[in-house]
Subunit: 157 residues, 2 copies
């Protein structure tokens, strides 16, 4: 009985720790609302990090947050879907899928970063690559958008 | 009685004629599925017609058509949302909203163009600008995609 209780406690502790730092892969983001797209080219300060063509998708709660001028409720998820930008014959098209970046809102889980969790996933393996320090660096930059709920993008008029 | 009948017939005929050539503005397209995006630049053969950054959106029936390898059912609507492409500081962003282009599927109404109706709308006034001849020219180009349901775009893998 004691051993079972101990196992349960350890399991709970482990799950709790994982939950605190964990941003889930946004499995349904391809059906989410398309907010906007952009091409980041060589020479841009973000080229190394997110060079290519990206599309931003908002789930229902994130869409409501954009519409409310940056008041994002827990459960809001914004996905930044990144592709190679293939420039050819005077056109720029989507190339290989580079990464899936996510901002997920949970004011309790991600209290240290003002309620936003950040993660970068490999699009094929769905393996996450950001540690807590890197996520904090994401947020350090997003801090300049504090009055827009820490989000850079906006809906079109 | 005769006059009422005549009025009804005239009304039906007028509605029928309008319906035959009419593609409706896709009022809910912003919530539709985002298929892909592309930037068409100066020097591209389509620059005069659709230069800028565009996003393709599919309503539910159109999405099912893409998934079925190009078998589009009546009611499928594909929207080509066109913006100025603003190149600045090594990035390309969406600028002014230029036009909303539409392909709408109705095998009866648009029999002359293999079941697809084509239209171009002003995004602000929603005024349509294509006549039947111009729509036929759209289709003449889309004919090369006959084995894909006359549609150029495709879902990503």
């Amino acid at each position: 009985m004691k051993r079972t209780l101990l196992a349960c406690l350890l399991l709970t502790a482990a799950w709790g720790a994982a939950a605190d730092s964990h941003v889930a892969f946004p499995t349904t983001y391809r059906g989410d609302f398309h907010v906007k797209s952009m091409v980041i080219q060589q020479g841009h300060p973000l080229f190394e990090a997110v060079g290519g063509m990206h599309h931003l998708y908002a789930n229902k709660k994130a869409l409501a947050g954009y519409k409310a001028g940056g008041k994002f409720a827990d459960g809001a998820v914004i996905t930044f879907d990144l592709f190679e930008a293939v420039a050819q014959d005077n056109a720029i098209a989507e190339g290989a899928h580079k990464a899936v970046l996510v901002m997920a809102r949970d004011s309790r889980k991600f209290k240290a970063t003002d309620g936003w969790g950040y993660q970068v996933f490999d699009p094929k393996t769905r393996k996450a690559s950001l540690d807590a320090k890197a996520a904090a660096e994401c947020h350090a930059c997003h801090l300049q958008q504090k009055d827009k709920g820490f989000v850079f993008s906006a809906l079109r008029d």
